[in-house]
């Protein structure tokens, strides 16, 4: 039983990462209905920004995460302005291909600039181990979990309580109506990208610290998994993304822990399909009746 709870803890740490990436996915999807395939690569760049900040500026954990979040936010906005904005009125599939193009560009560009090899992430947190009732919890795991929860609460506050959050919700419900009400739609979309990318940047630094290994292709699989997490919880819903992230992390940990490590991805996909078929709007989503 201890092993089972230990796996839960492992899963929660992994799930926190997925959740942070999924939050960005869900926000962008919620507002412009784009599967932002480049989001996983922003997470990867976040890890590299953190790596560079710690290695060359010799900063600690919190400054590194803030620097990375700021740079990713800028990058997110730049990508949105250059690549996605011209396609606002094109088909969604065209926008999707653009996102894939951006993703290729970021991956290959990073391989070119930073080299293709795996980099060891400098350790800025000491890794103390706490033993609680036979369970091992490391300091890093606590940092990851707490950072994720705090960021989500801040995000929830922004979206629900502030003016800009109200603008986001308005644009996501009906961008034309929002424009008529005097909301600057373009600015709102840019801010959404900025926030989503910043969260991915934070996830990148956290993953660098936790696994101490980063590489230019590290964003591909977590990107897809995070999207699944977002769909799983109900896309466009912030607690849903969070919930989906944790759920998938825990699933993977438990499946690998009990001898199915090769099928852990398959299990995730099967659960996704079952959820979609039974409840297409996601676990926390409301089923919207389609109007004819």
């Amino acid at each position: 039983m201890t092993v089972f709870f230990q796996q839960l803890i492992n899963g929660l740490s992994l799930g926190s990462i997925y959740a942070l990436i999924a939050l960005g996915y869900t926000m962008v999807y919620g507002i412009i209905k784009l599967i932002n395939f480049a989001h996983g690569d922003i997470y990867m760049l976040g890890a590299y920004f953190g790596f560079l900040a710690i290695t060359y500026l010799h900063v600690g954990f919190f400054p590194a995460i803030l620097i990375s979040m700021a740079l990713c936010a800028i990058l997110g906005v730049v990508i949105e302005r250059i690549a996605y904005k011209p396609l606002r009125n094109a088909t969604r599939i065209a926008a999707l291909i653009t996102a894939i193009g951006v993703s290729y560009f970021l991956e290959a560009g990073t391989q070119q600039v930073m080299g293709t090899s795996v980099r060891a992430f400098p350790q800025v947190l000491n890794n103390q181990v706490f033993n609680i009732a036979g369970l091992r919890i490391t300091e890093q795991q606590i940092y990851i979990f707490v950072t994720t929860i705090v960021l989500m609460l801040i995000l929830q506050f922004i979206v629900k309580k502030t003016k800009i959050g109200r603008a986001m919700r308005a644009v996501s419900t009906d961008s034309d109506a929002a424009r008529l009400m005097g909301i600057n739609v373009d600015a709102t979309i840019s801010i959404t990208f900025a926030i989503g990318s910043a969260l991915a940047g934070a996830a990148g630094v956290l993953v660098g610290i936790y696994y101490s290994s980063i590489n230019p292709l590290m964003g591909m699989l977590p990107g897809i998994k995070a999207f699944i997490a977002a769909v799983f919880g109900g896309i466009g819903i912030i607690p849903g993304a969070m919930f989906g992230g944790f759920f998938i992390g825990i699933c993977e940990a438990i499946v690998s822990g009990y001898g199915g490590s090769l099928f852990k991805d398959a299990v995730v996909y099967i659960i996704l399909i079952v959820i979609l078929v039974i409840k297409p709007a996601g676990l926390l989503g409301k089923n919207v009746k389609e109007k004819v």
Partner: protein
């Protein structure tokens, strides 16, 4: 309006491509006195890490050969990136043939290699592979050990089965191990071949594999499997795979309190392993290799110095193997005194080569007869190396 923009874009694109073409130096077109060697590596994509290390090893070998005044030819490396894709590997092989190379070094990994060999062999172009270690890789039908060997294909690394068996021998004889947990990659035939050979030899020697877990290359979270392993009993942990994952596995295993000996293949041999695992965690770690910096020969030391000077970092095993593969081809060309491919090929088949990864000749499958060394790491530093032959 739309189409106008589109053509503007196309023109701009074409212009920038021409500009790029101007500064790229791998364009082909050889002069009479230059001998072209194809460098066919995974520079992007999944296996880019290995491909780039090998490219550097090959480039260094060519550079040093051109500085060597005893050599009669000047060499030129023609680089291509196969993007770790088998399909691209085919066209690149054909490109290299039409570029008129004498021989090709690469690819780094087994799958692109398998797609490359039939084409290059048919064109009677020599291939020296630095690291295609899969069992029977140099045979026309790898599933049939009695099938013909590709006449023009050689490799300078050992076969997976050989070093897997050697590690089992070492584990039982020297470490006194009986129960082993195996945590291996399933993404490469390299790791799978090692796993099979290791298990077979171990069982032959009376040991047993008590747990067999797998991961995929690119995974970073091994804590779930290691947590369940930590609750079992075994004397050693064998990790057939490459340093990128092995480094993380070792780090996470040690943190979870798995303190038995950790053993592995030559895929451990890179500085990245130390960076990822942390030097403190690299005690009681052993791996099989052909190449060690312990008691380095003069030749090896010279290579390490030259490489470090050129690239500002110590060479990994991949770079050393590529350095040897390239030198093997160059030396054969010099020895044959001609760029005629058939003559050079014959020279290689009968050559006694002395390289930085050991002295060897080729057996009938064009695989080197090298002795396997087992290196022990103490605080991440190579401490001792002993030679092992599986019985």
């Amino acid at each position: 309006m739309d189409s106008k923009n589109f053509f503007k874009l196309l023109t701009a694109g074409a212009l920038s491509l021409t500009a790029l073409a101007g500064c790229s130096n791998d364009g082909g077109g050889t002069t009479d006195e230059k001998v072209s060697i194809g460098l066919h590596y995974e520079l992007k994509g999944d296996a880019a890490d290995y491909g780039n290390a090998e490219l550097r090893g090959s480039q260094l070998a060519i550079k040093l050969a051109n500085e060597n005044e005893d050599y009669q030819f000047t060499y030129e490396g023609i680089e291509y990136d196969n993007g770790s894709s088998e399909n691209e590997a085919i066209t690149i092989s054909q490109r290299l043939i039409s570029d008129g190379v004498v021989g090709v070094i690469g690819p780094s990994t087994s799958a692109p290699s398998a797609a490359t060999y039939p084409i290059l062999n048919d064109a009677q172009t020599i291939v020296v592979s630095p690291s295609a270690t899969a069992n029977n890789q140099t045979l026309v039908d790898p599933d049939d050990p009695n099938s013909d060997v590709y006449e023009y294909v050689y490799r300078v690394c050992f076969e997976d089965s050989y070093q897997g068996a050697a590690m089992a021998q070492f584990a039982v004889d020297t470490l006194g191990v009986q129960k082993v947990a195996v945590y291996g990659s399933v993404s490469s035939d390299y790791a799978k071949g090692l796993n099979t050979a290791f298990t077979e030899q171990l069982e032959k020697l009376g040991g047993q594999v008590v747990a067999n877990e797998s991961y995929q290359d690119g995974d970073t979270d091994f804590s779930a499997v290691l947590t369940s392993l930590a609750s079992q009993e075994f004397d050693a942990l064998y990790i057939p795979g490459y340093y990128n994952e092995a480094g993380l596995i070792i780090q996470q295993a040690r943190e979870l309190g798995i303190d038995c000996p950790i053993i592995g293949p030559d895929g451990f041999d890179a500085n990245t392993l130390v960076e990822l695992a942390g030097a403190d965690n690299l005690n009681d770690v052993y791996f099989t290799t052909a190449y060690t910096t312990v008691d380095a020969s003069e030749k090896l030391q010279a290579f390490i110095d030259a490489y470090t000077e050129e690239y500002g970092e110590a060479p990994a095993m991949f770079a050393a193997l590529a350095f040897d593969a390239t030198n093997l081809l160059i030396e054969a060309i010099e020895k044959a005194g001609t760029t005629d491919k058939a003559t050079v090929n014959e020279t290689i088949a009968n050559m006694e080569f002395s390289g930085v990864t050991g002295d060897f000749t080729f057996d009938e499958t064009h695989t080197p007869n090298k002795s396997v060394l087992v290196v022990e790491l103490v605080d991440g530093v190579q401490e001792t190396a002993v030679s092992v032959t599986p019985e």
